[in-house]
Symmetry: D2
Subunit: 164 residues, 4 copies
């Protein structure tokens, strides 16, 4: 599997059972409605139960004052990766919203492209806790974690939220 | 003063003494180099010692799946506001980098425009702690805090970092 | 009022309306069940709608390796102050649990005693966001903020949680 | 090795090279000076380069209002575990102080005893980022993560801080 090879693991058997067999399509449809992702050029590349990866090529118009990717943009793809990792485990018809997150910026975000990897740490009916990392990838494919985060998201049932 | 009126205070006497009398120009020059701010349409509207405000008009191409401003974009202006509030108190020739931040999303980010307000909580030679809020402003000028954050930034002296 | 004088304000009119007129007794009863507070010598000194203060005298047996109050103990009174500020606005019969918090340690926690001040930032039916500060107070009554935090707590209705 | 067996791994080869060959003794000596650890009954059980584990038996006098371990006490052992994981990689003569941390409370802290596991995520000359988990262990030895955290600590060189 592409995603497994990419993260350097031979096999990845998810520890999570999705409630909704159509979780991947549901996640992809919601991601397409996140218009900011198209604006910055981010792409959803992996959706598995409790796991999501988003890639973003470097663009000079997304940088901070030293030419690195702005921490807010790195956070945007990290937050979405963690949120969609969480959303993949939620029931059909629900909506997901971020409650809070915290990031540590480990290194300047320099690279040809960036990959945000979100993973559920503790799923819940209402609140889910996810972790996310953002990796910078250089021209030779070398990877470096530049940002690591912890996040809480809330599942809004059908009656309360808009779907997605 | 515009900023004082805008935040509903008649007088605002800063509690901080800037080390660099040209702090405001230094902050403005660095902000102009944050190319992502131009990309998303954000503007630096207030720079005072230990205090900084950034405004961003609503744009549909910066939204998440429900049409609200994406949390990562709200965080981007909050992070920059806190970072520049901190940078205003640093000596000439230094550079500023975010170490970490944490945000709580208090309400969906709905509004005609948004204002990030960054304030230094504890300045330091090396590490500065700042707080930031992002307010949503509706068509009638009504304001609502939609995001609140705490942040640590580091001051890199001339010899270690690039200026700004 | 003692608390108003103590915080240097002549008048403090709460911006919050408690749902439960007996909120203060409910908070005090729950605090008494937090056995760790008695163990460390902490006392609940102020309970108002959306606001709570806890005091802790310095004790050498609560210190870290340099003789300052351990960050975990400062966090314990901050977390309880924020949690009880939140609990004061919850309905009778509910229970409160911390979901997450984040603290910045602004200065070494040196003092004769410490006061944690918790304040609700955004109340909610389910999730409440609170802020808390911990102040160190010296022999002359001088105060210094040594820790500042942001916190999310959840309200568990009667049917789900144990009261308190 | 006890620690390796305990964490269910057959072999653990550290990815970090300590600067100080006497790191373990230095960490143990500093831990003994954290008087709060003795007060609550916590013990340092594993010290490896960039890795530290602290155990705490359940005690009713450390609980919150529902009889679970208070989040502040769980945080205290987590903060110390992350701090000492970081300190193990610092040079002889330096001192360590926590700058900030953030915790998510994943489950009520119920158990016979608790183990905090701290691991360095990114070491630095000045700032180190660590992660920590607190596990609850039941009478049958079953483990459950009840708290997860991210932390920044600072290394104070000999000239600035007290040793330890």
């Amino acid at each position: 599997m592409v995603s497994a090879r990419r993260t350097g693991q031979d096999v990845r058997v998810s520890e999570f059972q999705p409630l909704d067999p159509l979780f991947a399509e549901r996640v992809r449809a919601s991601f397409r409605r996140q218009r900011v992702m198209e604006t910055i050029g981010a792409e959803l590349v992996v959706v598995e139960p409790g796991h999501c990866e988003i890639e973003l090529p470097y663009r000079a118009d997304l940088t901070q004052q030293h030419g690195f990717l702005h921490a807010g943009i790195a956070t945007a793809i990290g937050d979405s990766a963690g949120g969609y990792a969480s959303f993949s485990l939620m029931p059909a018809g629900s909506a997901v919203l971020a409650v809070e997150f915290k990031v540590n910026l480990l290194s300047p975000a320099q690279g040809e492209r960036f990959r945000a990897v979100g993973r559920v740490k503790r799923p819940g009916k209402r609140l889910t806790v996810a972790a996310f990392d953002v990796l910078a990838i250089d021209a030779q494919g070398g990877e470096k974690v530049v940002l690591t985060g912890l996040q809480t998201v809330i599942c809004l049932p059908d009656s309360e939220g808009r779907s997605g």
